[in-house]
């Protein structure tokens, strides 16, 4: 076998070998249908919240109304965004804190 043929054979072998993440996916049966729906919905909610907060600081009830979401769903997702540094707390308005997007430096 010449060099080019050897390289081609090695590339073919690499393509046939499964990546570790593929092995795990196969072993686990991939994402469950429930998980797929959950992830899709979460992505949709985060986009809505990001767009609404991009227009200004808002409380949880304000965000829920603007995004057409249940307040408790808004609260959980907003707090998750806060935990991972996407959102920060601002001032207290009556009985509700307002939140804004954290600037990315």
């Amino acid at each position: 076998m010449n060099d080019t043929q050897e390289n081609q054979a090695a590339a073919a072998q690499t393509a046939r070998e499964k990546r570790p993440i593929d092995i795990l996916r196969e072993r686990h049966g991939g994402m469950s249908p429930e998980m797929k729906d959950y992830y899709k919905e979460q992505t949709r909610i985060r986009k809505l919240l990001g767009e609404a907060l991009g227009k200004g600081t808002k409380t949880v009830p304000e965000l829920a109304r603007e995004c057409g979401l249940e307040p408790q769903v808004t609260m959980w997702n907003l707090m998750a965004m806060r935990r991972y540094g996407k959102v920060v707390e601002e001032e207290l308005r009556g009985d509700y804190y307002a939140y804004r997007l954290k600037e990315v430096k």
């Binding site: 990546r19 570790p20 993440i21 092995i23 795990l24 996916r25 686990h28 991939g30 994402m31 469950s32 998980m35 959950y38 992830y39 979460q42 409380t59 949880v60 009830p61 829920a64 307040p71 408790q72 808004t74 609260m75 959980w76 997702n77 907003l78 707090m79 998750a80 806060r82 935990r83 991972y84 707390e89 207290l92 009985d95 509700y96 804190y97």
Partner: protein, 439 residues
């Protein structure tokens, strides 16, 4: 101690405060101890509390030194994210099978940088925050976790592979599988800890259904400044709560839910949480509805009197039903026992059910020791030697033996360690095990 040996003098099941204390007390006597914990980190329930009663010490501030001492002790091998699946008598001592669950992370290479967690695209409810907060599919449970290594929850993984791509030490290993390991041990201490009574045990209270009916550990989480919200807020809409009710004996002293006993800590944790809320939120109205307040320990009665003096209302009343009204507020229907049984309806922003304690593990199919009528491991000499079980060489400590507070759990762990040490000397475990391995 990094390697997993074939023989240990003592096995401790449970890495909470009682388990760590028992392991340390044995290790200080120069016994080699294997400590098994089912969760990704040691620390148990205590590391997740906000403050402890009656001293109001920061709970993790007094728990984490024990955690650090345990992991750094030369005689203690900690194996977290693992479970004991079998304990069989094997003269001398026991043959134990431990199942190491797959973290999909090589522990020795993980530096706890959280880059994997930040890269993960999906958030799921976090067990450490009792579902009120979020974590990623690959996560480090909390800032005080020991070991401070990531764990991949494959049930919530999107299989995107980002965690492995960003890991600076290439320690994400998708090919890991659970592994069973057999060890010989001389004595076993079961310190498997507690769960709280299920929130839906009493349907009329709305626990597990109504979002603003909280479990007490969830209230601990939201009171903490490092908790899911950063401050006490209502889970339904982020409102600052102005009026909160505590329902005592919600998950104890009730034959109808299978928990006929008093759980010993609920009155005190309710008083503690109520006092802290009065400190955190100016002018907040808090009422504790009780059948009777049990403040039996050292400094507890004084603490109870202080809480009432600082404006928490402690009312003898039996809550019959909790319903949700507009704005997801809660209406309590309560029988006022000090007012001739008059029935009243009162509205609150939040309600905390003071749930009781139930055993986290019953050992069935793993270890052959009896349970008591209350579901906890049976103590054969409850007055004289409360840590002894129906199997020689197996001891119990902490809430595994029955509801108790942190000081009592620590003291009992010391007693279990001492009994285990006496047992090891009596059976000559080390000498006989060495002779058996040579033979």
């Amino acid at each position: 101690m990094d390697e997993f040996k074939k023989r240990y003098d003592g096995l401790v099941i449970g890495g909470g405060i009682a388990g760590m204390q028992a392991a340390l007390d044995l290790a200080e006597q120069d016994y080699e101890v294997l400590l098994i914990e089912k969760d990704p980190s040691i620390g148990g329930v205590m590391v997740g509390l906000n403050k402890v009663f009656p001293t109001l010490d920061c709970s993790s501030c007094i728990c984490t030194p024990r955690m650090a001492e345990s992991v750094h002790h030369k005689n203690i091998k900690i194996q977290a994210y693992s479970e004991v699946t079998s304990i069989r008598p094997n003269d001398p001592g026991f043959k134990v099978t431990v199942r190491k669950k797959a973290r999909y992370v090589i522990e020795d290479k993980c530096i706890g940088c959280s880059q994997c967690e930040l890269a993960c695209p999906v958030d799921v409810p976090h067990e450490f925050d009792h579902g009120l907060g979020a974590r990623r599919a690959i996560y480090i449970p909390h800032g005080n976790a020991i070991p401070q290594v990531a764990t991949l929850d494959v049930d919530h993984c999107t299989f995107c592979g980002r965690c492995a791509k960003v890991c600076p030490t290439q320690c994400v290993d998708y090919t890991q599988e659970p592994e069973d390991v057999e060890v010989d041990v001389g004595a076993v201490i079961i310190a498997s800890g507690l769960l709280i009574t299920p929130m839906d045990a009493k349907a009329e209270y709305g626990g597990g259904k109504l979002i603003n009916v909280l479990n007490p550990l969830g209230m601990e989480a939201i009171q903490s400044s490092s908790g899911p919200y950063g401050r006490p807020l209502r889970p339904s809409d982020g409102k600052v709560p102005r009026k909160i009710a505590y329902v005592q004996c919600a998950g104890s002293r009730d034959h109808s839910i299978g928990v006929p006993y008093c759980s010993r800590v609920c009155c005190m944790y309710a008083l503690k949480q109520a006092l802290l809320l009065r400190h955190y939120i100016h002018g907040i109205d808090i009422t504790i509805y009780h059948m009777d307040i049990r403040a039996f320990g050292k400094g507890y009665e004084q603490f109870y009197r202080r809480v009432m003096k600082e404006g928490v209302k402690v009312v003898k009343g039996k809550v019959a039903k909790i319903t949700e009204v507009e704005n997801q507020d809660l209406m309590l229907r309560v029988e006022m026992l000090d007012e001739g049984g008059r029935v009243d309806e009162r509205r609150y922003d939040l309600v905390v059910l003071s749930q009781g304690l139930v055993p986290a593990w019953d050992g069935k199919g793993v270890v052959d020791i009896e349970l008591g009528d209350d579901g906890f491991f049976k103590s054969v000499s409850p007055k004289i030697s409360p840590v002894l079980t129906t199997q020689d060489g197996i001891f119990i400590a902490g809430v595994a033996a029955g509801p108790k507070d942190i000081p009592d759990a620590i003291v009992e762990a010391g007693a279990a360690a001492m009994e285990a040490a006496v047992h090891l000397e009596r059976i000559g475990f080390r000498e006989r095990a060495l002779a058996a391995s040579r033979g």
